[in-house]
Amino acid sequence: MTTKNLKVIIYQPNASNAAFFASLLAIIKDIKPAHELAVRLFIRDIKAQYRQSFLGFFWVLIPPLLTAGLWIFLNNNRIVNVGETDIPYPLFVMIGTMLWQMFAESVNQPLASVKSNKSMLTKINFPREALLLSGFYTITFNLGPKLLVLAAACYAFDIQWNVSQLYFPLGILMVCLIGFAIGLILTPIGLLINDVARGIGVILPFAMYLTPVIYPAPTTTGYFAFLMQYNPVAILITASRGWLSGQVSSIPHEFMSVSSITLLFLLIGVLAYRISMPIITERFGG
């Protein structure tokens, strides 16, 4: 063993002007070990979660199924009238709530993943991105049962196979990524201040009603239609639903721009996370 093969690590006060660039390099270097650890943490969490539960997967499906069921009931009994949909309303609302659930879980996941491993953060030096990755793997894993339900719903309502359905996975990916990016950007502040997690919990259900999840996007002009037009989640959900049901056969350009902005924010979020983690670790104490 000689010094020449040993790597040298230097710790000194942070915040040089090259912080962004240096962090980016460090993140890229850490991807492989972070992935390995993330897979382990993901397996650990899933195993523990399902070993202590009898209903298991069922819990992933309950919230969207209940929401969908409620709205199908309200609409069928003419208690509320959501207007005409291009596809049967039960299918419409089912796809909508499943997509919304994917989005909502993605918003919550980064903060939840980091928080649940808080004690490890103050004691062990491991690639911090592993927590984010394991959160993302959890989201992906939870897609499984939702997709099965959607497949069953499409079969039940006799939706024909269509080339445009090939776009649907892209839609799901972007719905998850935009949620993840939003959650990630809120994570550093959310770790310091509990108000953020509470705020997310309050705002998300409310935001669902500002998004065409259970009703079709209004086509008329007006304040509400304007809101729909600039609600990025609305754009992604509407396009994805269109692809799955065969109503839309190309990638709308709004979808492209929302996706690009999402990816940009995701990058900023990852960098912000890397840069802020040492500062947060020190405030955690412990």
């Binding site: 010094t3 942070n14 382990r40 202590q52 840069i275 802020s276 040492p278 020190e282 405030r283």
Partner: protein, 401 residues
Amino acid sequence: MTNNEILVKVEGVSKKFSRDLKKSLWYGLKDISGAMLGIKPTKKLRKTEFWAVRDISFTLKRGECIGLIGHNGAGKSTLLKILNGLIPPDEGRIEMTGRISALIELGAGFNPILTGRENIYNNGAVLGFSQAEIDAKIDEIIEFSEISDFIDTPVQNYSSGMKVRLGFAVAAQMEPDVLIIDEVLAVGDLGFVLKCFNRIDSLLQNSALIFVSHSMPQVARICSQVVLMDKGLAKYQGTNVSEGIDQYYSKFTTENSMSFHGDGARLQKVSLNNILIDPANYFIQLKRLRDLTISIEIAINKEILTPEISLGFFDKEMRSIANFIREESAEKLKNDGSVVKVKVTIPRVQFSKGIYSIALSISNRRGGKVIYRQQSIAQFQVIAEHHVWASFQLDGIMEQV
């Protein structure tokens, strides 16, 4: 392998903390936004901030061990976190060479629902082992932990000692160049602690060790230099480990206890080696193998004609380590109604380096009921060259025959 490689170089490291939570969070938000924009943070202390670690420097070569000692809150753990790369220093610079491993918390990443075997993989992954590495070492890990009977039991059913065993067994597989250990060996039974030390000894041959502990015998045993920290500063630093430990102990004397039970007697005066013990001067220092005289004046209820006085000696961990009882006939000690004055001489005190306290107990007659007891009437610090595990270091001679 050369033994002159410097593996750790710490230069003037400082770290500040805020006492107030809300302020701390606010500074945290400001620091995060500053760091994003590449603004250099201020070096000055902000309101409610203090230096948790101030201007610490040392170098450590392969095969050496540095002990960080000091009372709770002296800044040791903060310094360790900086050394471990968890938090950046506010000032100064640290250069570390090679693989760094930290035994700061054993069993990180354990999930209580999962079995010991599964958690070996979890803990191993957190410590940076790959799946294949653990596959190769799993039998060795289980054997080292000595809990193979329970390895497929959920960890939530383990005792804390068993968790520590499993955690250390995984951590013991690391082969670091720089090893950081923080107080983790405090739990676990004696057999296991000794096993851990053997493992650390073998690691030490190839690595530089940074060791935080409150157990001075452990520090004396493995460290080649010590830093005694107090309020973030290095109060003592050097290779004379004994000197550092003496200074640490002398910080630790507390006032003698006033608590006692019984109203048949009242303690009036205590002197050790003719030095009066009072709240301002509650302990003396004594060189090992010198004589100790304990003079006591007690007012005892005059109905008790032949009281019996005995002394007990306790070490810093409040373990009873010795007693003094009178060998003379019972009638030799009489109470004439005024103050009973006694002087106890203990020749050539064979206690080892450390702080000891003296307990006083008085009974109404030999073998009778205790009428007075005080846990600590005075303390003394034994100054010695060597530091040994036991409280007693026998005075003797070894000759070759």
